[in-house]
Amino acid sequence: MSAPFVLLGLLATGAKHGYDLKHAYDAALPRAKPLGFGQVYATLGRLERDGLVTPVAHDRDQGPDRTTYALTEAGQTALDGWLDAVEPSAPHAAGALVAKVAVALLAAEPERASGYLAAQRAAHQERLRELTRTKLDPEAALGDVIAADYLIAHLDADLSWLQTTLDRVANLRREVHP
């Protein structure tokens, strides 16, 4: 789970309270699963318990008490360790896409698998076009462009795999019905 480290990273740019952290999180990772306010405060509580952040101010600005948190030295060390650790690539080819194609090929006619692959490819291509439009928008924020790049690269890989699999299914059909 990266959310605690993202919060540490955001605090590395300066002390903030929970409300600001939630908005900074959304701006930095606009296409990530949204982080609720409850999650932000719960995570801050755990980070404080572990000595990675510390409250530095309490203020009440026409509303409830707000606690401002700052990164501690231990927090900076934890953040550096996380940034330096290499992420392993996905260990198993077990996504729903792979599973569905494997089952379609085992349990149904190649036409069925081929039809599914083509429909999936169409959906991926449409999503890819939508993300490309996001990037072409002159108003797009850097966070949006980076997130779109990431999603496009993965869609591109999926599309290559879908195309190769479509070719394999077509070859298989030719072998079975020459």
Binding site: A118, A119, R121, Q125, E126, R129, L131, L136, D167
Partner: protein, 238 residues
């Protein structure tokens, strides 16, 4: 908003072979004015041959190519050459700039061939180099430019005659991802500003992502399953 527009380029049952090897097996398509259409497919599927036939560079063995309601496949080579100089622009993967000429001279070339004066041609060339973001290389020769600069220069040359249709064959195939992206973004922006129709041939899904619509080819025809992936264009309300 949905406005039905007449197709600007049409293909009807195009057939083309290289010796005994069929490249096109009866391709039919309509290209709507102002759209960016991507034709995708693996190597050897016939997409480049289709582009060459549509652009009047190559004649089909059978079938018709229609531009603005009139057949162009049965016209003379000279008539098609005129069309390519006036109404069509062509952009290839690489190797299209004259190495002995500067960027500005390369871009001015089509205008000079069309009878423009030297000063007028140079002014237009400089304006187009500026528009595609490489004004700084105007007096450099291709050998002194990066791949991305050369391809933008080629884009400026393809667009300097303000063609109605731009045919682009793997236009970013020789560029790295980020440079290719910059060239494509320029291409899309300029095409939309000038309402230029674009037929873009590519094997890369991410390049096809820049188009309004995509048609997938396989074995010389539109992929039966892939044909279903054609989505109505209309991103810009056209």
């Amino acid at each position: 908003m949905s406005i039905v527009q007449a197709p600007i380029v049409q293909a009807r049952g195009l057939v083309r072979s290289y010796g005994l090897t069929p490249a096109l097996r009866g391709v039919t398509l309509d290209v709507t004015e102002g759209e960016i259409l991507a034709v995708t497919g693996p190597s050897g599927c016939g997409k480049s041959t289709l582009l060459h036939c549509l652009a009047g560079i190559m004649r089909p063995d059978a079938g018709e190519v229609i531009y603005r309601g009139e057949r162009i496949d049965n016209t003379s080579e000279k008539a098609r050459a005129v069309l390519r100089r006036t109404d069509f622009g062509v952009l290839f993967q690489f190797g299209q700039l004259v190495m002995d000429l500067t960027a500005a001279e390369n871009v001015a070339l089509p205008l000079l061939l069309n009878g423009a004066g030297r000063r007028e041609a140079r002014t237009a060339a400089l304006a187009w180099l500026e528009r595609v973001g490489v004004a700084e290389v105007a007096d450099s020769r291709p050998g002194e430019m990066s791949g991305g600069q050369q391809q933008r220069c080629a884009l400026a040359r393809a667009l300097v005659t303000e063609p109605r249709v731009l045919f682009a064959d793997e236009p970013t195939g020789a560029l790295d991802t980020l440079t290719g992206e910059q060239v494509l973004a320029q291409l899309v922006r300029v095409a939309h500003e000038h309402r230029t129709t674009v037929v873009l041939v590519t094997h890369e899904p991410r390049v096809a992502g820049y188009a309004d619509r995509e048609l997938a080819m396989r074995d010389g025809t539109f992929d039966e399953a892939g044909a279903g992936i054609a989505v109505p264009h209309g991103r810009h309300g056209r």
